[in-house]
């Protein structure tokens, strides 16, 4: 419903820039929500968002070169590939303490980047050009088509995160976050739950990346694996609030919009600095993010 309403409203906007900027904000909604399914719900920090994201993008590049299927197919494939990698990664490292998992995700992103940089078929370090059709089926403007896809994906991601929260899975994950050993002792199958959430989280990141080659039309490893994806996908949930589905959404819309405005008006290096400073400021001063701030204020007023 919400997805449909936003899209019908946005059809009234004729300016293409709105769709360009909106796509990026929605992409961050998907990434932040995906990150939070693992990071916020279980407390395991994933620094490798850029790796999963670029994996989705590059699996699209490969399929595009092979036979060029429609983008929804690419999104599914990107999700499956990144989900499998997420599963493998989790299987190898989730038995260790959270810190090691965090460092391993960072390592994974760089290993993947090196592999892609040295793989000539997908352009290597020179990058690859994707020629996209001028018109999209039914909708017309191609950028609007991409926008609609990302909007749908964001809707699915947020709905998934929301339904996890109040399911057996969600309660199990929250138990892991609060005290993993106690959860394990109480009979929560911790490893299995962590694997499910790592796989889901990785899959959504890959899906978010899959349409990227069509959006940018030129993709090279340095931009696909850009560390700003990792920073943003951590900063957005932490700024919004990590315990529920609403936090990443608020954080992504807020930070995403600020960055769009800052990139246009100031400079792109400076807007990354803003994200970094906000991230550090929020984890130090407001550990539960904006949602936490609102809740404590509400409690004070009542009590």
């Amino acid at each position: 419903m919400v997805v449909f309403a936003i899209f019908s409203a946005s059809r009234l906007v004729t300016n293409d820039y709105f769709f360009f900027a909106g796509y990026l904000v929605l992409q961050f909604v998907v990434l932040a929500t995906a990150w939070n399914i693992l990071g916020g719900y279980t407390g395991y920090v994933n620094f490798g968002t850029a790796g999963f994201f670029a994996l989705g993008a590059y699996s699209s590049v490969v399929l595009h070169k092979l036979f060029g299927p429609p983008i929804p197919v690419l999104i599914v494939v990107g999700g499956v590939v990144s989900g499998i990698v997420g599963f493998g990664m989790g299987y190898l490292t989730l038995r260790l303490r959270g810190v090691f998992f965090a460092i391993a995700t960072l390592a994974l992103a760089i290993v993947l980047e090196t592999l892609i940089t040295n793989w000539d078929y997908v352009g290597g370090s020179r990058g690859v050009y994707i020629i996209r059709p001028a018109q999209a089926p039914l909708i017309g403007s191609y950028i609007q088509y991409l926008f609609l896809l990302m909007l749908t994906l964001a809707g699915i991601a947020v709905a998934t995160a929301r339904s996890i929260e109040h399911s057996t899975l969600g309660y199990g994950l929250a138990a892991i976050r609060d005290d993993e050993q106690a959860a394990e002792a109480a009979g929560v199958p911790t490893l299995r739950l962590k694997l499910v959430s790592t796989t889901l989280s990785g899959a959504f990141m890959g899906m978010a990346g899959a349409p990227l080659p069509y959006y940018v039309t030129y993709l090279d490893p340095a931009s696909g694996f850009n560390l700003s994806y990792a920073v943003n996908s951590i900063a957005m949930p932490l700024i919004g609030g990590t315990t529920g589905w609403l936090g990443p959404l608020i954080g992504a819309v807020l930070l995403g919009t600020i960055q769009q405005v800052a990139t246009v008006t100031i400079s792109s290096a400076l807007n990354l600095l803003i994200v970094g400073v906000l991230l550090v400021a929020f984890v130090v001063i407001a550990p539960n993010g904006i949602i936490g701030l609102i809740e404590t204020r509400g409690r004070r007023r009542r009590g």
């Binding site: 990071g39 407390g43 920090v45 620094f47 190898l92 490292t93 260790l96 959270g98 810190v99 090691f100 965090a102 460092i103 391993a104 960072l106 390592a107 994974l108 760089i110 290993v111 980047e113 090196t114 592999l115 940089t117 040295n118 370090s125 560390l227 990792a230 920073v231 951590i234 900063a235 932490l238 990590t242 290096a269 400076l270 990354l272 600095l273 994200v275 970094g276 400073v277 991230l279 550090v280 984890v283 130090v284 550990p287």
Partner: protein
Amino acid sequence: MGVTLDLLLNAITSGLLLGGFYAAVSVGVAISFGMLDIANLAHPAFIILGSFTAYILNGTFGMDPIVAGIVVLPGFFLLGAAIYQIYYLSFERRGEESLRGLAFFFGILFITEVTLILIFGVDYRFVEAPYIGPTLRLGIVDLPLRMLVPCVCSLIMVGGLQLSLSRTFLGRAILAVAQDGPALRLLAINPSRVKLVAFAISIATAAIAGSFLIIIQPVEPSIGREYIGRVFAICVMGGMGSFPGMLLAAMLLGVVESITATFYGPSWSPAVAFGFLLLTLAFRPSGILGR
């Protein structure tokens, strides 16, 4: 390119020299992560910061880069103390160090990197010193002084730290914190005070390591990222807080990276460190010398 003996010997030698330098890069993390259990992801960013302070002092006063690294030591020490104080008050005291502490250091890494980019741009910077350029030749093996000097100085630094850890009162207190913090409290020693000093020392080593780095290669702000994998790989492989293990792991990584770069090309070398790290975490999380 065929595998010839002199090529292989040279690859191994330069790998060992590189490994000596990696020890200087990792010693700070061996202290902060290995002993104090603080996952300081921002350590490589401070190393780059050290490179840039050495670059400024070298460029404006013609100071030797290693001397420059020693000159800025007190500044880095204070910076480290300040960061630990924030970390302690906001995370460690509340017992929330895992998720938010990691995000905190990641944010600091990012802020440092972007600030350096805003000030210096993404150009490669280098320093000048008499030992950058000449090469010693021992038979068929080349010993470039620009690698040899940092390697020797680094071994001196690691050895000195090891000695002061095992001989001085403060050093033993740091080792004790690493083993059992609460027990120290029973001896009327404040563990967080000891950790403050130890963390400040770990950041101070970044000043020196940074000056070694800019001697070995030209530096631009974002190359710090490659070192995240290296330092943590070395630290974990070396068995966390152990200096001899760390030295061995650093040499091993240096040699493997150097051989990879010689025979497959340098574009593969970042994957070596991170691949090592992934394999160690997956199969030998207690380190190569671990049980």
